[in-house]
């Protein structure tokens, strides 16, 4: 069903990580809104239940990420890519050309790299402060108040950033297909991730289009 010029972008394991992390994040944000946003709290109530769901989905957030790290080589390789800023990334951030989509980037552009780093850092902070709020009796008040403050602020920032992430995906059907099926068209890759599509050596593990027609090769078990 994939046309031959397709490139494999994400393995099955990576797509599973993204989907499960996204679902958990969605539950966290929805329950957070029920706990925090008065018009919705008024409507929903049931504080203990909502809080329990929020707390458990928050605790589960690291599970997909850690599973990916352990089980998927493709995921580990992409984490390495996301972590590393190449010289071109700084230029990408500074250039106005990126807004017209003309600036070549690797498998992930600098914005995607910053987004993933922000989400990881924010989730770690939210986890720690969330646990502190759950076990609030263990901490002095000003520390608990500080944790509440940080939890609220980071949550608000994360909602904004995630909103941007969803907005970008909303406007890019081919990027969504990449996460749904694992494959993207070569033309899309050449437009959005030219260096990756071209297999430029600065990008380790450049894609090999020859494995694209395989229905479901499992690069997680190499």
């Amino acid at each position: 069903m994939h046309r031959s010029p397709d490139l494999r972008r994400f393995s099955r394991g990576e797509r599973w990580v993204h989907l499960s992390f996204g679902v958990l994040m969605g539950v966290c944000v929805a329950t957070a809104a029920m706990l925090y946003w008065a018009p919705l709290s008024t409507l929903v109530g049931r504080r203990e239940l909502v809080e329990a769901v929020h707390y458990s989905s928050g605790l589960l957030l690291p599970v997909p990420l850690l599973t990916g790290l352990v089980a998927s080589q493709a995921y580990r390789a992409d984490v390495r890519r996301l972590n590393l800023f190449l010289p071109g990334d700084w230029e990408w951030l500074r250039s106005s050309a990126r807004r017209r989509g003309h600036y070549p980037s690797g498998k992930f552009n600098a914005g995607q790299k910053l987004n993933s780093a922000f989400v990881l850092g924010a989730v770690m902070v939210l986890l720690v402060t969330g646990l502190m709020l759950h076990y609030f009796t263990l901490f002095p008040d000003d520390i608990s108040t500080g944790a509440t403050f940080v939890h609220d602020l980071f949550a608000a920032a994360l909602v904004l950033v995630t909103g941007g992430h969803i907005w970008m995906a909303w406007n890019d059907a081919e990027a969504r297909r990449g996460l749904r099926t694992g494959f993207v068209s070569r033309s899309w890759a050449e437009r959005e991730h030219a260096l990756w599509a071209a297999g430029t050596p600065e990008e380790p593990d450049a894609p090999d289009s020859s494995d694209a027609p395989e229905p479901e090769p499992n690069p997680d078990r190499e």
Binding site: A38, G121, D142, G146
Partner: protein, 248 residues
């Protein structure tokens, strides 16, 4: 994780696969963790500065900052039906000389008390200088007369679930109010109207919302949250392991 090896020219592959580039991702993560730690340490101070500014903020922009100086809505049940002011009835029963059912008009006919005090939630948030008015619980109890064996007061809510209680000495304090008005307006449904309790010196979970029953008993019956581990004598700053500044 690769080490920070500085910047390598693009397109110059190093055999043996040393990845070129700067670990910006890791730096962002560590930076956020640092910011988070700083916020935990200083957040209570930053928060109080923000709420001080917010009180003098004509633009309302500080209202966009999450979590400061505002009420948060808590309810332990799924939904609470609104009770129109005209249909409201407060039952006063138990160990009293003259059990009574009071309408809002009946409450308005009793001596009225107004004061301005902070609201302190046990989860940390505080709203300063909230104007309350209504009938002192002591005036209500005097109106019905407490029997000699009455030593405590239990409160019920028309949400059907929440309960609270005070011992009689606490109930007779001059800062424990059957509140019918908040910030100069009738207590809204979301804030527990038309009538709620306001126990100024205690954490806000004592201030039961949607109050519809006051029962004098011969012992303190632990309330909803107290059956779930919270302190019965919930003095602000001296209970629940907290040391908040006293209510001002």
């Amino acid at each position: 994780m690769p080490d920070d090896r500085g910047i390598t020219e693009p397109g110059a592959p190093e055999p043996g696969a040393v990845e070129p580039g700067t670990p910006v991702g890791r730096r962002v993560v560590l930076g956020l963790l640092g910011l988070g730690a700083l916020g935990i340490a200083l957040g209570s101070r930053v928060g109080s500065v923000i709420s001080t500014i917010a009180q003098r903020d004509p633009t309302g922009l500080t209202g966009l900052i999450p979590g400061n100086g505002r009420f948060r809505f808590y309810s332990v049940v799924g939904g609470v039906d609104q009770v129109p002011a005209a249909e409201y009835a407060l039952t006063v029963d138990g160990l009293v000389e003259q059990p009574a059912t009071l309408s809002l008009a009946d409450l308005a006919a009793l001596p009225q008390t107004t004061f301005t005090r902070d609201v302190q939630c046990v989860t940390g948030w505080r709203v300063e200088d909230v104007a309350w008015s209504g009938v002192l619980l002591s005036d209500l109890l005097a109106h019905v007369g407490v029997a000699r064996i009455g030593t405590a007061v239990q409160f019920g809510s028309f949400d059907g679930v929440y309960t609270e209680s005070l011992d009689l000495e606490q109930a007779m304090r001059p800062d424990v109010l059957i509140a019918t008005s908040m910030q100069g307006e009738p207590v809204s449904h979301d804030h527990g109207g038309p009538v709620r309790l306001y126990v100024a010196p205690m954490y806000f979970y004592k201030s039961i919302k949607w109050l519809d029953r006051v029962t004098v008993t011969d012992e303190v019956v632990p309330g909803y949250w107290e059956q779930r581990g919270y302190d019965i004598d919930a003095w602000v700053g001296q209970s629940n392991g907290r040391n908040d500044a006293p209510i001002a």
